[in-house]
Protein backbone atom coordinates (compact mmCIF):
# COMPACT_ATOMS: atom_id res chain seq x y z
CA UNK A 1 0.00 0.00 0.00
CA UNK A 2 1.48 3.29 -1.01
CA UNK A 3 0.80 6.29 1.15
CA UNK A 4 0.42 9.18 -1.23
CA UNK A 5 0.26 12.07 1.11
CA UNK A 6 1.54 12.87 4.53
CA UNK A 7 -1.04 13.09 7.19
CA UNK A 8 -1.48 16.50 8.75
CA UNK A 9 -5.07 16.06 9.68
CA UNK A 10 -4.27 14.62 13.08
CA UNK A 11 -4.97 17.85 14.89
CA UNK A 12 -8.67 17.47 14.29
CA UNK A 13 -8.68 14.14 15.99
CA UNK A 14 -10.10 14.98 19.36
CA UNK A 15 -12.95 17.03 18.02
CA UNK A 16 -15.64 15.70 20.28
CA UNK A 17 -13.84 15.74 23.64
CA UNK A 18 -12.31 18.72 25.40
CA UNK A 19 -8.78 17.41 25.51
CA UNK A 20 -6.15 18.13 28.13
CA UNK A 21 -6.04 21.85 27.35
CA UNK A 22 -9.81 22.05 27.43
CA UNK A 23 -10.11 20.40 30.81
CA UNK A 24 -7.27 22.50 32.20
CA UNK A 25 -9.01 25.63 30.95
CA UNK A 26 -12.28 24.52 32.47
CA UNK A 27 -10.53 23.89 35.78
CA UNK A 28 -8.88 27.33 35.72
CA UNK A 29 -12.20 29.00 35.00
CA UNK A 30 -13.93 26.98 37.73
CA UNK A 31 -11.31 27.99 40.30
CA UNK A 32 -11.56 31.62 39.21
CA UNK A 33 -15.35 31.62 39.50
CA UNK A 34 -15.16 29.93 42.88
CA UNK A 35 -12.66 32.56 44.03
CA UNK A 36 -14.93 35.32 42.81
CA UNK A 37 -17.78 33.90 44.88
CA UNK A 38 -16.04 32.93 48.12
CA UNK A 39 -12.59 34.51 47.77
CA UNK A 40 -13.38 37.78 49.56
CA UNK A 41 -14.79 35.75 52.46
CA UNK A 42 -12.18 33.01 52.65
CA UNK A 43 -9.08 35.20 52.29
CA UNK A 44 -6.74 34.55 55.23
CA UNK A 45 -6.05 38.20 56.08
CA UNK A 46 -7.59 41.62 55.58
CA UNK A 47 -6.55 42.56 52.05
CA UNK A 48 -6.45 46.25 52.92
CA UNK A 49 -4.48 46.02 56.15
CA UNK A 50 -1.20 47.75 55.30
CA UNK A 51 1.97 47.60 57.35
CA UNK A 52 4.79 49.36 55.59
CA UNK A 53 7.38 47.57 57.66
CA UNK A 54 6.43 44.41 55.75
CA UNK A 55 6.59 46.09 52.32
CA UNK A 56 7.73 43.61 49.65
CA UNK A 57 8.66 41.01 52.21
CA UNK A 58 8.53 37.49 50.74
CA UNK A 59 6.75 34.41 52.02
CA UNK A 60 6.53 34.64 55.79
CA UNK A 61 4.75 32.18 58.02
CA UNK A 62 1.11 31.92 57.03
CA UNK A 63 1.59 34.70 54.50
CA UNK A 64 2.22 32.19 51.72
CA UNK A 65 2.93 34.70 48.97
CA UNK A 66 4.36 37.39 51.20
CA UNK A 67 3.45 41.07 51.09
CA UNK A 68 2.95 43.78 48.52
CA UNK A 69 4.64 47.16 48.29
CA UNK A 70 2.50 48.52 51.10
CA UNK A 71 2.85 45.52 53.31
CA UNK A 72 -0.56 43.99 52.57
CA UNK A 73 -0.97 40.21 52.36
CA UNK A 74 -0.58 39.33 48.71
CA UNK A 75 -2.62 36.13 48.64
CA UNK A 76 -5.53 37.85 50.36
CA UNK A 77 -5.44 40.63 47.82
CA UNK A 78 -5.40 38.18 44.92
CA UNK A 79 -8.36 36.30 46.37
CA UNK A 80 -10.32 39.44 47.13
CA UNK A 81 -9.46 40.89 43.72
CA UNK A 82 -10.93 37.94 41.86
CA UNK A 83 -14.48 39.14 42.51
CA UNK A 84 -13.97 42.70 41.25
CA UNK A 85 -12.04 41.53 38.21
CA UNK A 86 -14.45 38.81 37.17
CA UNK A 87 -17.74 40.59 37.85
CA UNK A 88 -16.51 43.62 35.92
CA UNK A 89 -15.66 41.50 32.89
CA UNK A 90 -18.92 39.53 33.18
CA UNK A 91 -20.89 42.77 33.23
CA UNK A 92 -19.18 44.05 30.09
CA UNK A 93 -19.59 40.77 28.21
CA UNK A 94 -23.23 40.46 29.21
CA UNK A 95 -24.21 43.97 28.15
CA UNK A 96 -22.33 43.69 24.85
CA UNK A 97 -23.73 40.30 24.03
CA UNK A 98 -27.34 41.12 24.89
CA UNK A 99 -27.29 44.35 22.90
CA UNK A 100 -25.36 42.71 20.07
CA UNK A 101 -27.75 39.76 19.74
CA UNK A 102 -30.74 42.04 19.83
CA UNK A 103 -29.41 44.34 17.14
CA UNK A 104 -28.20 41.42 15.05
CA UNK A 105 -31.51 39.58 15.04
CA UNK A 106 -33.63 42.67 14.49
CA UNK A 107 -31.51 43.98 11.62
CA UNK A 108 -31.20 40.57 10.00
CA UNK A 109 -34.94 40.06 10.19
CA UNK A 110 -36.09 43.40 8.88
CA UNK A 111 -33.16 44.27 6.61
CA UNK A 112 -33.60 47.33 4.42
CA UNK A 113 -33.76 50.71 6.14
CA UNK A 114 -33.52 49.32 9.67
CA UNK A 115 -30.40 47.42 8.75
CA UNK A 116 -28.83 50.36 6.95
CA UNK A 117 -29.48 52.68 9.88
CA UNK A 118 -28.06 50.24 12.41
CA UNK A 119 -25.04 49.69 10.19
CA UNK A 120 -24.39 53.43 10.00
CA UNK A 121 -24.63 53.86 13.78
CA UNK A 122 -22.36 50.89 14.38
CA UNK A 123 -19.85 52.22 11.86
CA UNK A 124 -19.51 55.41 13.87
CA UNK A 125 -19.29 53.48 17.12
CA UNK A 126 -16.66 51.29 15.52
CA UNK A 127 -14.47 54.40 15.24
CA UNK A 128 -14.07 54.47 19.02
CA UNK A 129 -11.67 51.81 20.29
CA UNK A 130 -12.60 50.43 23.72
CA UNK A 131 -9.68 51.88 25.62
CA UNK A 132 -10.18 55.34 24.14
CA UNK A 133 -13.87 55.29 24.97
CA UNK A 134 -13.05 54.22 28.52
CA UNK A 135 -10.55 57.04 28.94
CA UNK A 136 -13.08 59.55 27.69
CA UNK A 137 -15.73 58.01 29.96
CA UNK A 138 -13.38 58.38 32.90
CA UNK A 139 -12.94 62.04 32.02
CA UNK A 140 -16.71 62.51 31.94
CA UNK A 141 -18.00 60.29 34.73
CA UNK A 142 -14.86 60.14 36.77
CA UNK A 143 -12.64 57.06 37.02
CA UNK A 144 -14.16 53.83 38.28
CA UNK A 145 -15.30 50.35 37.38
CA UNK A 146 -18.74 51.51 36.29
CA UNK A 147 -17.62 54.10 33.75
CA UNK A 148 -14.91 51.79 32.40
CA UNK A 149 -17.33 48.87 32.17
CA UNK A 150 -20.02 50.88 30.43
CA UNK A 151 -17.54 52.33 27.95
CA UNK A 152 -16.10 48.92 27.10
CA UNK A 153 -19.53 47.35 26.73
CA UNK A 154 -20.55 50.06 24.28
CA UNK A 155 -17.26 49.75 22.41
CA UNK A 156 -17.68 45.97 22.06
CA UNK A 157 -21.18 46.17 20.65
CA UNK A 158 -20.16 46.79 17.02
CA UNK A 159 -17.72 43.86 17.08
CA UNK A 160 -20.19 41.45 18.62
CA UNK A 161 -22.95 42.64 16.34
CA UNK A 162 -20.82 42.23 13.24
CA UNK A 163 -20.19 38.56 13.97
CA UNK A 164 -23.70 37.78 15.15
CA UNK A 165 -25.38 39.72 12.36
CA UNK A 166 -23.48 37.66 9.80
CA UNK A 167 -24.69 34.48 11.45
CA UNK A 168 -28.23 35.79 11.80
CA UNK A 169 -28.34 36.82 8.14
CA UNK A 170 -27.16 33.37 7.09
CA UNK A 171 -29.82 31.80 9.26
CA UNK A 172 -32.46 34.18 7.96
CA UNK A 173 -31.63 33.12 4.42
CA UNK A 174 -32.11 29.43 5.20
CA UNK A 175 -35.22 28.16 3.49
CA UNK A 176 -36.65 26.69 6.68
CA UNK A 177 -37.29 30.23 7.85
CA UNK A 178 -39.12 30.98 4.60
CA UNK A 179 -41.05 27.72 4.93
CA UNK A 180 -42.20 28.66 8.43
CA UNK A 181 -43.10 32.17 7.27
CA UNK A 182 -45.31 30.54 4.65
CA UNK A 183 -46.83 28.48 7.46
CA UNK A 184 -48.02 31.79 8.93
CA UNK A 185 -45.63 31.90 11.88
CA UNK A 186 -45.21 35.35 13.41
CA UNK A 187 -41.91 37.20 13.16
CA UNK A 188 -41.81 37.09 16.93
CA UNK A 189 -42.05 33.30 17.08
CA UNK A 190 -39.60 32.82 14.24
CA UNK A 191 -36.98 35.09 15.78
CA UNK A 192 -37.38 33.84 19.32
CA UNK A 193 -37.99 30.14 18.73
CA UNK A 194 -35.95 29.50 15.61
CA UNK A 195 -33.49 32.21 14.64
CA UNK A 196 -32.14 33.01 18.10
CA UNK A 197 -31.77 29.41 19.33
CA UNK A 198 -29.95 28.53 16.15
CA UNK A 199 -27.32 31.20 16.69
CA UNK A 200 -27.26 30.74 20.47
CA UNK A 201 -24.15 28.57 20.37
CA UNK A 202 -22.33 31.35 18.59
CA UNK A 203 -23.74 33.94 21.00
CA UNK A 204 -22.40 32.01 23.96
CA UNK A 205 -19.05 31.56 22.25
CA UNK A 206 -18.86 35.28 21.49
CA UNK A 207 -19.82 36.10 25.06
CA UNK A 208 -17.02 33.92 26.34
CA UNK A 209 -14.49 35.49 24.02
CA UNK A 210 -15.72 38.98 24.94
CA UNK A 211 -15.34 38.09 28.61
CA UNK A 212 -11.67 37.42 27.96
CA UNK A 213 -11.26 40.69 26.09
CA UNK A 214 -13.09 42.57 28.82
CA UNK A 215 -10.82 41.18 31.51
CA UNK A 216 -7.76 42.34 29.61
CA UNK A 217 -9.16 45.75 28.79
CA UNK A 218 -10.56 46.39 32.25
CA UNK A 219 -7.25 45.44 33.77
CA UNK A 220 -5.52 47.74 31.31
CA UNK A 221 -7.80 50.60 32.33
CA UNK A 222 -7.23 49.90 36.01
CA UNK A 223 -3.54 49.79 35.21
CA UNK A 224 -3.92 53.28 33.76
CA UNK A 225 -5.51 54.38 37.01
CA UNK A 226 -8.89 55.07 35.41
CA UNK A 227 -10.71 51.90 36.41
CA UNK A 228 -10.95 50.28 39.78
CA UNK A 229 -9.30 52.59 42.27
CA UNK A 230 -6.59 51.64 44.67
CA UNK A 231 -6.73 50.49 47.49
CA UNK A 232 -9.59 48.23 46.37
CA UNK A 233 -8.18 44.83 45.48
CA UNK A 234 -8.25 44.11 41.76
CA UNK A 235 -5.78 42.23 39.59
CA UNK A 236 -5.30 45.13 37.19
CA UNK A 237 -4.76 47.56 40.06
CA UNK A 238 -2.26 45.16 41.60
CA UNK A 239 -0.15 45.09 38.46
CA UNK A 240 -0.10 48.87 38.51
CA UNK A 241 0.57 49.09 42.26
CA UNK A 242 3.40 46.59 41.97
CA UNK A 243 5.23 48.49 39.27
CA UNK A 244 7.49 50.48 41.55
CA UNK A 245 8.39 47.34 43.46
CA UNK A 246 9.09 45.61 40.18
CA UNK A 247 11.60 48.20 39.10
CA UNK A 248 13.36 47.79 42.42
CA UNK A 249 13.57 44.05 41.92
CA UNK A 250 10.42 42.88 43.75
CA UNK A 251 8.29 41.55 40.90
CA UNK A 252 5.94 39.31 42.86
CA UNK A 253 2.97 41.66 43.27
CA UNK A 254 2.78 42.62 39.58
CA UNK A 255 3.70 39.19 38.31
CA UNK A 256 1.29 37.21 40.47
CA UNK A 257 -1.61 39.39 39.38
CA UNK A 258 -0.44 39.20 35.76
CA UNK A 259 -0.25 35.42 35.97
CA UNK A 260 -3.80 35.28 37.33
CA UNK A 261 -5.10 37.43 34.49
CA UNK A 262 -3.17 35.60 31.79
CA UNK A 263 -4.27 32.22 33.13
CA UNK A 264 -7.95 33.09 33.30
CA UNK A 265 -7.96 34.98 30.01
CA UNK A 266 -6.22 32.25 28.08
CA UNK A 267 -8.49 29.61 29.59
CA UNK A 268 -11.62 31.59 28.80
CA UNK A 269 -10.45 32.46 25.30
CA UNK A 270 -9.49 28.87 24.58
CA UNK A 271 -12.92 27.66 25.66
CA UNK A 272 -14.63 30.45 23.74
CA UNK A 273 -12.79 29.61 20.55
CA UNK A 274 -13.57 25.94 20.95
CA UNK A 275 -17.23 26.82 21.40
CA UNK A 276 -17.09 29.06 18.34
CA UNK A 277 -15.42 26.43 16.20
CA UNK A 278 -18.01 23.91 17.30
CA UNK A 279 -20.86 26.33 16.66
CA UNK A 280 -19.59 26.95 13.15
CA UNK A 281 -18.93 23.27 12.54
CA UNK A 282 -22.45 22.28 13.49
CA UNK A 283 -23.91 24.97 11.24
CA UNK A 284 -22.23 23.68 8.10
Amino acid sequence: MSVLTLDIVTRRRRRSGLGVLGWTSLAVVAVAVLLAIVGPVLRPFDPNLADLSFANVGAYGSHVLGFDGQGRDLLSRLMAGARTTLTGAAFVALVAIVAGSLIAVVTAWFGGVVDAFAAAVLDVLFAFPGILLAVVAAAILGPGLLSAGLALAVAYIPYVTRVLRGAALKERAMTYVAALEVQGFSAWRLCLRHLLPNISALIIAQGTIMFGFAMVDLAAISFLGLGVQSPQADWGVMISDGKSGLLQGYPLESLSAAVCIVAVVSAVTFLGERLEARAKESRR
Binding site: V124, A127, V136, I140, L226, L247, A258, S266
Partner: protein, 315 residues
Protein backbone atom coordinates in the same frame (compact mmCIF):
# COMPACT_ATOMS: atom_id res chain seq x y z
CA UNK B 1 -12.68 52.59 -8.27
CA UNK B 2 -13.19 56.36 -8.34
CA UNK B 3 -16.75 55.86 -7.21
CA UNK B 4 -15.61 53.55 -4.46
CA UNK B 5 -13.05 56.08 -3.26
CA UNK B 6 -15.56 58.90 -3.33
CA UNK B 7 -18.07 56.83 -1.40
CA UNK B 8 -15.50 55.75 1.12
CA UNK B 9 -14.28 59.32 1.63
CA UNK B 10 -17.81 60.55 2.13
CA UNK B 11 -18.30 57.84 4.72
CA UNK B 12 -15.12 58.92 6.46
CA UNK B 13 -16.19 62.56 6.59
CA UNK B 14 -19.62 61.60 7.91
CA UNK B 15 -18.13 59.34 10.55
CA UNK B 16 -15.69 62.00 11.66
CA UNK B 17 -18.44 64.60 11.84
CA UNK B 18 -20.60 62.42 14.06
CA UNK B 19 -17.59 61.30 16.08
CA UNK B 20 -16.38 64.85 16.66
CA UNK B 21 -19.85 65.84 17.76
CA UNK B 22 -19.96 62.90 20.14
CA UNK B 23 -16.53 63.67 21.56
CA UNK B 24 -17.31 67.32 22.04
CA UNK B 25 -20.84 66.75 23.27
CA UNK B 26 -19.98 64.00 25.74
CA UNK B 27 -17.35 66.07 27.45
CA UNK B 28 -19.55 69.13 27.36
CA UNK B 29 -22.24 67.46 29.41
CA UNK B 30 -19.75 66.00 31.87
CA UNK B 31 -20.44 67.03 35.44
CA UNK B 32 -18.28 69.75 36.95
CA UNK B 33 -17.34 73.04 35.38
CA UNK B 34 -14.08 73.18 33.50
CA UNK B 35 -13.22 76.19 35.59
CA UNK B 36 -13.35 74.24 38.83
CA UNK B 37 -10.41 72.18 37.64
CA UNK B 38 -8.56 75.38 36.94
CA UNK B 39 -9.40 77.05 40.21
CA UNK B 40 -9.17 73.97 42.35
CA UNK B 41 -12.80 74.43 43.43
CA UNK B 42 -12.08 77.76 45.10
CA UNK B 43 -14.93 80.26 44.74
CA UNK B 44 -14.15 82.96 42.18
CA UNK B 45 -15.14 86.61 42.24
CA UNK B 46 -17.95 87.02 39.67
CA UNK B 47 -16.04 89.41 37.40
CA UNK B 48 -13.01 87.09 37.25
CA UNK B 49 -15.37 84.19 36.48
CA UNK B 50 -17.06 86.15 33.70
CA UNK B 51 -13.69 87.09 32.30
CA UNK B 52 -12.54 83.49 32.23
CA UNK B 53 -15.85 82.34 30.75
CA UNK B 54 -15.53 84.85 27.97
CA UNK B 55 -11.96 83.87 27.31
CA UNK B 56 -12.86 80.18 26.94
CA UNK B 57 -16.26 80.86 25.23
CA UNK B 58 -17.96 79.19 28.18
CA UNK B 59 -21.01 81.43 28.07
CA UNK B 60 -22.11 80.67 24.53
CA UNK B 61 -24.72 78.05 23.53
CA UNK B 62 -23.52 74.52 22.95
CA UNK B 63 -23.96 74.34 19.18
CA UNK B 64 -22.12 77.61 18.65
CA UNK B 65 -19.25 76.41 20.75
CA UNK B 66 -19.15 73.09 18.91
CA UNK B 67 -19.08 74.96 15.61
CA UNK B 68 -16.21 77.20 16.78
CA UNK B 69 -14.31 74.18 18.01
CA UNK B 70 -14.85 72.23 14.77
CA UNK B 71 -13.88 75.10 12.51
CA UNK B 72 -10.72 75.83 14.46
CA UNK B 73 -9.94 72.12 14.60
CA UNK B 74 -10.12 72.04 10.81
CA UNK B 75 -7.62 74.88 10.83
CA UNK B 76 -5.35 72.89 13.09
CA UNK B 77 -6.29 74.70 16.28
CA UNK B 78 -7.71 72.43 18.95
CA UNK B 79 -8.20 75.12 21.58
CA UNK B 80 -6.41 75.76 24.79
CA UNK B 81 -5.76 73.62 27.82
CA UNK B 82 -7.21 75.54 30.73
CA UNK B 83 -5.00 74.05 33.45
CA UNK B 84 -1.82 74.33 31.36
CA UNK B 85 -2.54 77.59 29.53
CA UNK B 86 -1.15 76.08 26.41
CA UNK B 87 -2.43 75.41 22.94
CA UNK B 88 -3.64 71.83 22.61
CA UNK B 89 -2.34 71.50 19.06
CA UNK B 90 1.13 72.42 20.24
CA UNK B 91 0.92 69.94 23.08
CA UNK B 92 -0.20 67.24 20.68
CA UNK B 93 2.49 68.17 18.19
CA UNK B 94 5.16 67.59 20.83
CA UNK B 95 3.95 64.10 21.55
CA UNK B 96 2.57 62.72 18.33
CA UNK B 97 6.02 61.65 17.16
CA UNK B 98 6.54 59.20 20.00
CA UNK B 99 3.17 57.57 19.50
CA UNK B 100 3.58 57.42 15.74
CA UNK B 101 7.03 55.91 16.15
CA UNK B 102 5.74 53.36 18.61
CA UNK B 103 2.81 52.34 16.42
CA UNK B 104 5.01 52.22 13.33
CA UNK B 105 7.68 50.07 14.95
CA UNK B 106 5.02 47.78 16.39
CA UNK B 107 3.37 47.49 12.98
CA UNK B 108 6.63 46.42 11.41
CA UNK B 109 7.08 43.76 14.07
CA UNK B 110 3.50 42.57 13.62
CA UNK B 111 3.71 42.32 9.84
CA UNK B 112 7.06 40.58 9.75
CA UNK B 113 6.58 38.25 12.70
CA UNK B 114 2.83 37.72 12.45
CA UNK B 115 2.47 37.14 8.73
CA UNK B 116 5.79 35.30 8.53
CA UNK B 117 5.02 32.90 11.36
CA UNK B 118 1.49 32.39 10.11
CA UNK B 119 2.65 31.36 6.64
CA UNK B 120 5.34 29.18 8.16
CA UNK B 121 2.81 27.45 10.36
CA UNK B 122 0.26 26.95 7.61
CA UNK B 123 2.68 25.55 5.07
CA UNK B 124 4.96 23.82 7.52
CA UNK B 125 4.21 20.48 9.04
CA UNK B 126 4.53 18.79 12.40
CA UNK B 127 7.09 20.49 14.61
CA UNK B 128 7.18 23.81 12.77
CA UNK B 129 3.43 24.19 12.81
CA UNK B 130 3.07 23.02 16.39
CA UNK B 131 5.81 25.43 17.46
CA UNK B 132 4.04 28.32 15.78
CA UNK B 133 0.76 27.28 17.32
CA UNK B 134 2.25 27.09 20.81
CA UNK B 135 4.08 30.41 20.51
CA UNK B 136 0.99 32.19 19.26
CA UNK B 137 -1.21 30.71 21.97
CA UNK B 138 1.10 31.87 24.75
CA UNK B 139 1.62 35.26 23.19
CA UNK B 140 -2.10 35.74 22.54
CA UNK B 141 -2.83 35.43 26.24
CA UNK B 142 -0.30 38.10 27.14
CA UNK B 143 -2.02 41.49 27.51
CA UNK B 144 0.19 44.43 26.61
CA UNK B 145 0.53 45.68 30.17
CA UNK B 146 1.44 42.23 31.44
CA UNK B 147 3.96 41.90 28.61
CA UNK B 148 5.29 45.32 29.62
CA UNK B 149 5.74 44.20 33.22
CA UNK B 150 7.48 40.99 32.22
CA UNK B 151 9.76 42.66 29.68
CA UNK B 152 10.68 45.44 32.07
CA UNK B 153 11.55 42.99 34.77
CA UNK B 154 13.46 40.48 32.64
CA UNK B 155 15.09 42.52 29.88
CA UNK B 156 15.54 45.85 31.62
CA UNK B 157 15.89 45.12 35.35
CA UNK B 158 17.47 41.66 35.39
CA UNK B 159 19.45 41.68 32.14
CA UNK B 160 19.87 45.42 31.79
CA UNK B 161 19.94 45.19 27.98
CA UNK B 162 17.43 47.92 27.24
CA UNK B 163 16.09 50.89 29.22
CA UNK B 164 12.94 50.30 31.25
CA UNK B 165 11.58 53.81 31.11
CA UNK B 166 11.72 57.04 29.15
CA UNK B 167 11.71 58.32 25.61
CA UNK B 168 15.36 58.89 24.69
CA UNK B 169 17.06 61.44 22.47
CA UNK B 170 18.09 61.16 18.86
CA UNK B 171 17.10 58.42 16.45
CA UNK B 172 19.16 55.48 17.70
CA UNK B 173 18.49 56.19 21.36
CA UNK B 174 14.77 56.69 20.69
CA UNK B 175 14.66 53.42 18.86
CA UNK B 176 16.39 51.73 21.80
CA UNK B 177 13.78 53.19 24.12
CA UNK B 178 10.92 52.22 21.84
CA UNK B 179 11.96 48.61 21.30
CA UNK B 180 10.63 47.14 24.55
CA UNK B 181 7.36 49.11 24.41
CA UNK B 182 6.88 48.01 20.82
CA UNK B 183 7.47 44.38 21.74
CA UNK B 184 5.01 44.66 24.62
CA UNK B 185 2.45 46.27 22.37
CA UNK B 186 3.01 43.70 19.65
CA UNK B 187 2.70 40.58 21.79
CA UNK B 188 -1.04 39.98 21.54
CA UNK B 189 -1.33 41.39 18.04
CA UNK B 190 1.41 39.22 16.59
CA UNK B 191 -0.41 36.20 17.94
CA UNK B 192 -3.69 37.33 16.42
CA UNK B 193 -2.14 38.05 13.02
CA UNK B 194 -0.24 34.76 13.11
CA UNK B 195 -3.38 32.79 13.78
CA UNK B 196 -5.48 34.55 11.18
CA UNK B 197 -2.70 34.26 8.61
CA UNK B 198 -2.28 30.59 9.35
CA UNK B 199 -6.00 29.96 9.07
CA UNK B 200 -6.32 32.00 5.87
CA UNK B 201 -3.42 30.27 4.14
CA UNK B 202 -4.73 26.90 5.30
CA UNK B 203 -8.18 27.69 3.96
CA UNK B 204 -6.88 28.91 0.61
CA UNK B 205 -4.73 25.81 0.30
CA UNK B 206 -7.88 23.73 0.43
CA UNK B 207 -9.74 25.73 -2.21
CA UNK B 208 -10.92 24.13 -5.41
CA UNK B 209 -9.07 26.57 -7.63
CA UNK B 210 -5.83 25.59 -5.92
CA UNK B 211 -6.70 22.00 -6.73
CA UNK B 212 -7.13 23.08 -10.35
CA UNK B 213 -3.67 24.62 -10.37
CA UNK B 214 -2.21 21.45 -8.88
CA UNK B 215 -4.11 19.33 -11.38
CA UNK B 216 -2.47 21.25 -14.21
CA UNK B 217 0.94 20.14 -13.04
CA UNK B 218 2.19 23.51 -11.81
CA UNK B 219 5.09 23.37 -9.35
CA UNK B 220 3.92 23.73 -5.74
CA UNK B 221 5.94 26.92 -5.05
CA UNK B 222 4.21 28.60 -8.02
CA UNK B 223 0.83 27.42 -6.82
CA UNK B 224 1.54 28.78 -3.36
CA UNK B 225 2.76 32.12 -4.63
CA UNK B 226 0.26 32.71 -7.42
CA UNK B 227 -2.85 31.27 -5.84
CA UNK B 228 -2.58 30.48 -2.13
CA UNK B 229 -0.71 33.56 -0.92
CA UNK B 230 -2.23 35.91 -3.48
CA UNK B 231 -5.73 35.04 -2.31
CA UNK B 232 -4.90 34.72 1.39
CA UNK B 233 -3.49 38.25 1.17
CA UNK B 234 -7.05 39.56 1.17
CA UNK B 235 -8.09 38.43 4.68
CA UNK B 236 -4.55 38.91 5.98
CA UNK B 237 -4.49 42.54 4.87
CA UNK B 238 -7.78 43.13 6.61
CA UNK B 239 -6.70 41.69 9.91
CA UNK B 240 -3.30 43.37 9.82
CA UNK B 241 -4.97 46.70 9.13
CA UNK B 242 -7.55 46.34 11.85
CA UNK B 243 -4.89 45.18 14.29
CA UNK B 244 -2.68 48.17 13.53
CA UNK B 245 -5.66 50.46 13.92
CA UNK B 246 -6.36 49.01 17.34
CA UNK B 247 -2.77 49.74 18.41
CA UNK B 248 -3.48 53.43 18.19
CA UNK B 249 -5.63 53.32 21.30
CA UNK B 250 -3.72 50.54 22.99
CA UNK B 251 -0.54 52.60 22.85
CA UNK B 252 -1.85 54.55 25.85
CA UNK B 253 -1.31 51.55 28.08
CA UNK B 254 2.22 50.84 26.93
CA UNK B 255 3.22 54.50 26.97
CA UNK B 256 2.04 54.74 30.55
CA UNK B 257 3.83 51.54 31.52
CA UNK B 258 7.13 52.64 30.01
CA UNK B 259 6.83 56.30 30.91
CA UNK B 260 6.84 57.35 27.27
CA UNK B 261 5.92 60.92 26.52
CA UNK B 262 3.31 60.04 23.90
CA UNK B 263 -0.23 61.02 23.05
CA UNK B 264 -1.88 58.07 24.78
CA UNK B 265 -0.15 58.57 28.09
CA UNK B 266 -0.92 62.25 27.89
CA UNK B 267 -4.58 61.52 27.19
CA UNK B 268 -4.73 59.43 30.34
CA UNK B 269 -3.17 62.19 32.39
CA UNK B 270 -5.58 64.72 30.92
CA UNK B 271 -8.53 62.47 31.75
CA UNK B 272 -7.35 62.22 35.33
CA UNK B 273 -6.97 66.01 35.51
CA UNK B 274 -10.27 66.64 33.73
CA UNK B 275 -8.41 68.72 31.16
CA UNK B 276 -11.36 68.72 28.77
CA UNK B 277 -9.76 70.49 25.82
CA UNK B 278 -6.83 68.06 25.77
CA UNK B 279 -9.07 65.00 26.06
CA UNK B 280 -11.21 66.30 23.21
CA UNK B 281 -8.22 67.12 21.04
CA UNK B 282 -6.34 63.89 21.51
CA UNK B 283 -9.52 61.80 21.19
CA UNK B 284 -10.24 63.50 17.90
CA UNK B 285 -6.74 62.86 16.60
CA UNK B 286 -6.78 59.21 17.70
CA UNK B 287 -10.22 58.59 16.22
CA UNK B 288 -9.13 60.22 12.98
CA UNK B 289 -6.04 58.01 12.83
CA UNK B 290 -8.14 54.95 13.59
CA UNK B 291 -10.74 55.73 10.96
CA UNK B 292 -8.11 56.63 8.37
CA UNK B 293 -6.31 53.34 8.95
CA UNK B 294 -9.56 51.46 8.52
CA UNK B 295 -10.25 53.32 5.32
CA UNK B 296 -6.83 52.35 4.01
CA UNK B 297 -7.66 48.74 4.84
CA UNK B 298 -10.87 49.01 2.86
CA UNK B 299 -9.06 50.46 -0.10
CA UNK B 300 -6.39 47.78 0.04
CA UNK B 301 -9.15 45.21 0.18
CA UNK B 302 -10.83 46.62 -2.88
CA UNK B 303 -7.52 46.71 -4.76
CA UNK B 304 -6.75 43.11 -3.85
CA UNK B 305 -10.17 41.69 -4.62
CA UNK B 306 -11.47 42.42 -8.12
CA UNK B 307 -14.89 41.04 -7.18
CA UNK B 308 -15.53 44.19 -5.16
CA UNK B 309 -15.58 46.94 -7.69
CA UNK B 310 -18.41 48.99 -6.23
CA UNK B 311 -19.93 49.25 -2.83
CA UNK B 312 -18.39 48.46 0.47
CA UNK B 313 -16.59 45.50 1.85
CA UNK B 314 -18.61 42.35 2.26
CA UNK B 315 -18.94 41.92 6.00
Amino acid sequence: MTRFLARRTAMLVATMLVASFAIYGALYVSPGSPLSALTGNRPLPPEAKAQLEARYHLNEPFLVRYWHWLVSALHGDLGESIPLHENVSTLIGQRVGVTAGLVLLTSVIIVIAGVGLGILGALGKGLVDNGVLLASTVSAALPSFAAAVVLQFVVAVKLGWLPALGTGHGFADSLRHLLLPALALAATSVALVTRVTRAAVREETGREHVQTAVSRGLPWPSVVRRHVLRNAAIPITTVVGITIASLIALSAVVETAFGLNGLGAYLVQAAQNKDVAVVQGISLVLVLAFVLTNMLVDIAYAVLDPRLTLGGRAA
